[in-house]
C-alpha cells in the first residue's frame, strides 16, 4: 500500500518539474511582478490560457520578453503597452477602462440597478393591491367573504 502511494506521488512530482524555466530575479518584488504579469496576460495563441500556464512557443517567448522588460526596469504601464501594441487588447485578461469598455465594466452595475428597480416596482404594486383590500368597507368585506365561501356548482 505504502509503495503504491509513494509511486503515485513520484509520478505526480515528475509532471510538476516539466516546463519550468529557471529565472534569476534581482528582488522578491520583481519576482512578484513577473508572477503577476504571467497570470494577468493572456497567451495570444491560446483561447483561454495565461502566459504562466501555456506552453505554446509564443507564450515562452513572451515570458522571455516579460523577464527582459522587468530586468530593464520598465514600469507596469510600459510592459502592458509593449504587449498591447503588438498583440492587441486580447492579451489583457482585465480590459482597460475606456469608452469602448464602459458597457463591459458598467453592465453588471446597470443590470443590478435594473433588477432592483424591477423588484421595487413589483413590491410596490403588491403592496398597493393588499392596501386596496384593506380599504374595503364592512359591507364589501362581508360580500367578499360570501363570494369566497360560495361552493362552486
Amino acid at each position: 500500500m505504502r509503495l503504491v502511494v509513494w509511486s503515485i506521488l513520484l509520478l505526480l512530482a515528475a509532471g510538476v518539474n516539466a516546463g519550468i524555466e529557471a529565472r534569476d530575479f534581482s528582488s522578491p518584488e520583481q519576482r512578484e511582478r513577473y508572477l503577476h504579469f504571467t497570470a494577468e496576460l493572456r497567451c495570444p495563441k491560446c483561447q483561454n490560457q495565461n502566459l504562466a500556464d501555456s506552453n505554446a512557443p509564443i507564450a515562452e517567448d513572451l515570458r522571455e520578453q516579460l523577464y527582459r522588460l522587468l530586468q530593464e526596469g520598465q514600469s507596469d504601464q510600459q510592459i502592458v503597452d509593449f504587449m498591447v501594441s503588438r498583440y492587441g487588447e486580447y492579451v489583457l485578461y482585465k480590459p482597460r477602462i475606456e469608452p469602448r469598455t464602459w458597457l463591459l465594466w458598467g453592465g453588471p452595475v446597470l443590470m443590478f440597478v435594473g433588477g432592483l428597480l424591477a423588484v421595487g416596482t413589483l413590491v410596490r404594486r403588491a403592496r398597493q393591491r393588499t392596501s386596496a383590500l384593506a380599504d374595503l368597507s364592512d359591507e364589501e368585506s362581508t360580500r367578499l367573504k360570501q363570494l369566497l365561501d360560495q361552493d362552486c356548482p
Binding site: P44, Q47, V84, R86, G88, E89
Partner: protein, 177 residues
C-alpha cells in the same frame, strides 16, 4: 398598452435570438492584428540570400509578408500556392521565423522560391514586434509600408480570393489615383 405587453415575450425572444445568432456566427479564433493600419515595425536583419534587409526596403510596392518555418506543416501545405502567386507576379517577402538558415535553404531549394527575399528571424524577435503568434501568417503591406491586413493560417485559393486579393486590389486601385 396591455396588448403591447402581450408581445413582450416575443420581443425578448427575438432580441435574444438575434444576439445568439450573431454570437454563434462569430469565429472565436479570429484575432485582428494590433498592427493593422500601422507601419511595419523597424527591423534590420540578414536574409537567407545574404544581404541585410531593413523595413524600408519593403516599401514602394504593395507586397505580402509571409511568416514561415520549416517546422511548420501548414507552411509546407501553402508553399505550392505561394509559388503559383509569385508566378502571377505577386511580390512576396518571407520572414523565416524561429528557424535555422540551413534548413530554410534546403527547403527553398527543394520546394521552389516564391520569395523576393527571406528575412531571417531565428529568435522570433521581429515576429514579436509584428505580433506574430505562430506560423504561417501572411501580412498585406501597402506601398507606404503600412500593414493593411493579417491572415493567420495557410493561404490557399479560397483565402486568396476572399481575403488577400481584395485587400491587394484595393491598394493598387488606391495607388493609381
Amino acid at each position: 398598452m396591455a396588448r403591447l405587453r402581450l408581445f413582450l415575450p416575443l420581443l425578448v425572444f427575438a432580441a435574444l435570438a438575434l444576439l445568439f445568432w450573431r454570437g454563434l456566427s462569430l469565429d472565436p479564433n479570429y484575432m485582428p492584428s494590433a498592427l493593422e493600419n500601422r507601419p511595419l515595425p523597424a527591423f534590420s536583419a540578414p536574409t537567407l540570400e545574404g544581404p541585410v534587409i531593413s523595413d524600408a526596403e519593403l516599401r514602394g510596392k504593395p507586397a505580402l509578408l509571409n511568416v514561415w518555418a520549416t517546422w511548420c506543416p501548414s507552411c509546407a501545405a501553402e508553399h505550392a500556392y505561394l509559388n503559383a502567386l509569385a508566378r502571377k507576379g505577386v511580390l512576396i517577402y518571407g520572414l523565416n521565423y524561429k528557424d535555422n538558415a540551413e534548413a530554410a535553404g534546403r527547403w527553398i531549394a527543394e520546394k521552389g522560391n516564391p520569395y523576393v527575399a527571406n528575412i531571417l528571424d531565428p529568435a522570433g524577435l521581429i515576429g514579436i514586434d509584428l505580433g506574430v503568434t505562430g506560423a504561417p501568417e501572411t501580412y498585406v503591406v501597402d506601398a507606404a509600408g503600412v500593414i493593411q491586413l493579417r491572415h493567420q493560417g495557410p493561404v490557399d485559393e479560397r483565402v486568396w480570393r476572399t481575403v488577400i486579393e481584395p485587400a491587394l486590389a484595393g491598394l493598387s486601385a488606391g495607388s493609381l489615383r
